[in-house]
Amino acid sequence: MQRRTLLRNAGIAAGVAALAGFGMGLAAGKTEKPEDLPVARRLPSDLCERLGDVSVLFPEKVELKQTGVAEVRCSAEVEEDSQPTHTRASLTVTVQTFAAKKGSTADDVARADYDHEPWQAVQNRPYPTKINADPQGEDVWDISVLTTRGDLVVQVEYAAAPVIRDAAQAAVLAIADKAAWEAK
C-alpha cells in the first residue's frame, strides 16, 4: 500500500514536471556552450592607422585614435576654439564585424544591422551604402554614411564647417571604402 501510494504520487509529480520541463525547454531552447558560440571576426589592431592620413578633412593635421576591439572606433576632432578662423571638424569611423546567429550567417546579421538604418541609399557604389546628410546652416554639414560588405558594417560620421556637401560626402565615402578595404 505504502509503495503503491509512493509510486502513484511520484508518477503524478513526474508527469507535471515533465510537462513543465517540455514547455520550458521549448521556450528556452538549447543552452549554447561558450566555446560553441560563433565569434565575430577580429579586426586588425592597427585598423585606424591603416585608414591613412585624414587631415585633409580637418583644418590642421590630426591622427585617428582607435578604441574598441569587437567594434573599432577611429575618431579625431578639431574644435573651433583652437583655430584662428571659424573652422571645425570631427570624424568618427566605426567598423564592426558580426558573428553568425542561430539560423543566420554573419553576412545576414551584418546586412540586418545595415537594413535597420532608414537612410537614403547611394547608387553606383561598390558596396551597399546609405547616407544621411543633415545641413546645420550655411556651409555646415553633418554627414553620415553606412556601408556593408560581408560580415562587415562601416559607419562614418563627419561634421564640419565650413564645407559644401559634395566635398564632404565624397570624402566620407572614400573613407568608408578605405575602412572596408582594410578590414576585409
Binding site: M1, A20, G25, A180
Partner: protein
C-alpha cells in the same frame, strides 16, 4: 482436486485443502474482499452429523469468535454443499479452523489446518502494523463491526487494500521524499532536453535581405585633396562706439544707449545694443562667406522682436560693393528676409515691409562699412521682425546697428 464451488457473490481462485469431508478455498467477494471458504464435500454433505458439526462450529464462529479468529462472514448450512466463509485477515484464523470439528475428533486435522495457514501466509501481502499492534483497539474488539471493514478500492492511505483492515500510514521519511524529488526531477530534465531540441530544430532564421554574394573588395579611391572651405578669421570683441551721432534708418532717432544691454562678444565687427536685459543672443554658424548671429527679446518662438544679423568680410569698399549682390542673395536666403532694395546712401540699402495677415512687420538693411575694431571692410545684413506692438523696438535696434556701423 474438487470442483470449484459456485457460491453467489463469491469467486474462488485457489483450493487450499482437499479434505475428504470438506474443501478449503481462497477467493474474493464481489466487493473485492478476500475470503476463505470451507465447503463440505459431497461425502461430508451426505453425513448429517458432519452437517450438524459444521452448523455448530459456524454458530460459534459467528457468535463467539476468539481474539485471533476472523468471525464468520457468511454461511449456508442448508445448501446441497453447505459452506462457511470468513474474511481472509493476516494474523487471524479463518474458515479453515472449522475443519477440525467436522469428524468429531479435535486436533487430528491440525496439520492440514497449519498447511492451509502456511499457504495463506505465503501468498498474503507483507504484514502491516494493525491498530492492535499500534496499541489501538482492533475492530475485533467490537463484535458488531467485526470483520466489516470494507477494502478501499485502489487503496486508500491508512487502510490495507489486501486485508481490508485499517492500518497506520507509514511516516513519510527521507526515502519517500528522495523518490518524490528524484523521479519528477528526472522527468523534468529529460523533457526539458526534448523541448529544447524541438526548439532548436524548429528555429527559424532571422529575416534578412535576400542572399547576395559578397562583393569583391574594391581598391578605395584616394581622399579629395581639399574638403574644407577657408574659414572667416575670428574677430576680437568689438567695443561699442560712443560719441558718435545716432543715425536713424527708419522710425524715431535711437534713444540713449544708457541702461541698455550691450552685445559685444558676438564675433561681429561691431557691438549691438538691446533695450533691456531680457534680450538674448544665439550664436549661429559661420560659413565660408558670412557670420550669422541672432538677437531676440525672449525665447525663440516666443519673442516679439527677432533680429538676424549677417556679416561678410570684404577687401575694401569696392570689393564690398562688388559682392553686395551675392551677399544679399545668400543672407536673405539663409534668414528668409526681404532683400534690401532702397538705397539710403552709397553704402546703405533697406526695405521696410508692413505686417500683413500672415506676416510680421519686417525691416531689412544691408550696409558696407569700415570697422574700427577689425580695421577692415564688412558687409552687414540685418533683418528685424516685430509684432504690431514692438515695431518701434525693432526699428530702434536696426537704427543702433546702423549707428554702430557708421
Amino acid at each position: 482436486m474438487s470442483t470449484t464451488p459456485e457460491i453467489p457473490g463469491y469467486s474462488f481462485s485457489e483450493q487450499l485443502l482437499d479434505h475428504e469431508l470438506a474443501g478449503v478455498w481462497r477467493g474474493a467477494s464481489v466487493t473485492g474482499m478476500e475470503v476463505v471458504a470451507l465447503v463440505l464435500s459431497e461425502a461430508g454433505a451426505a453425513d448429517p452429523q458432519v452437517r450438524d458439526r459444521l452448523a455448530q462450529a459456524s454458530r460459534n464462529a459467528a457468535l463467539q469468535p476468539g481474539r485471533t479468529d476472523a468471525p464468520l462472514w457468511a454461511a449456508n448450512l442448508t445448501a446441497t454443499l453447505p459452506y462457511a466463509i470468513t474474511q481472509l485477515a493476516p494474523g487471524y484464523s479463518g474458515a479453515e479452523r472449522l475443519l477440525d470439528p467436522l469428524d468429531g475428533v479435535f486436533g487430528n486435522d491440525q496439520g492440514a489446518i497449519n498447511e492451509v495457514r502456511r499457504r495463506l501466509d505465503a501468498s498474503a501481502p507483507p504484514a502491516v502494523p494493525t491498530y492492535a499492534q499500534a496499541g489501538l483497539p482492533t475492530y475485533t474488539d467490537h463484535p458488531r463491526d467485526s470483520g466489516r471493514t470494507f477494502p478501499a478500492p485502489g487503496g486508500q492511505p491508512g487502510t490495507s487494500a489486501g486485508a481490508g483492515l485499517p492500518v497506520v500510514a507509514a511516516p513519510k521519511g527521507g526515502k519517500y521524499w528522495a523518490v518524490m524529488l528524484a523521479v519528477p526531477l528526472f522527468g523534468f530534465l529529460v523533457t526539458y532536453q526534448i523541448g529544447a531540441a524541438v526548439n532548436s530544430a524548429s528555429a527559424e532564421p532571422e529575416p534578412s535581405s535576400p542572399k547576395q554574394p559578397v562583393q569583391d573588395a574594391v581598391q578605395p579611391e584616394p581622399l579629395p585633396t581639399k574638403v574644407l572651405l577657408p574659414g572667416i578669421p575670428k574677430s576680437a570683441p568689438a567695443q561699442p562706439r560712443t560719441g558718435i551721432p545716432p543715425v536713424s534708418l527708419v522710425g524715431a532717432t535711437p534713444r540713449s544707449v544708457a541702461g541698455t544691454e550691450t552685445f559685444d562678444k558676438l564675433g561681429l565687427p561691431f557691438a549691438v545694443h538691446a533695450p533691456n536685459d531680457a534680450w538674448g543672443q544665439v550664436i549661429l554658424e559661420e560659413s565660408s562667406f558670412s557670420i550669422y548671429r541672432r538677437l531676440l527679446d525672449g525665447e525663440p518662438g516666443a519673442a516679439t522682436v527677432d533680429v538676424w544679423i549677417a556679416a561678410h568680410p570684404c577687401k575694401d569698399l569696392a570689393g564690398c560693393l562688388a559682392q553686395r549682390a551675392e551677399f544679399d542673395a545668400r543672407w536673405t536666403k539663409r534668414t528668409h528676409a526681404v532683400r534690401p532694395a532702397t538705397a539710403r546712401d552709397a553704402q546703405t540699402w533697406f526695405t521696410e515691409t508692413e505686417a500683413t495677415a500672415g506676416t510680421k512687420y519686417q525691416l531689412t538693411m544691408t550696409r558696407a562699412f569700415l570697422s574700427p575694431s577689425t580695421r577692415s571692410w564688412w558687409l552687414v545684413g540685418v533683418k528685424a521682425t516685430a509684432t504690431p506692438g514692438t515695431i518701434r523696438t525693432a526699428q530702434g535696434v536696426v537704427n543702433d546697428i546702423r549707428t554702430q556701423t557708421s
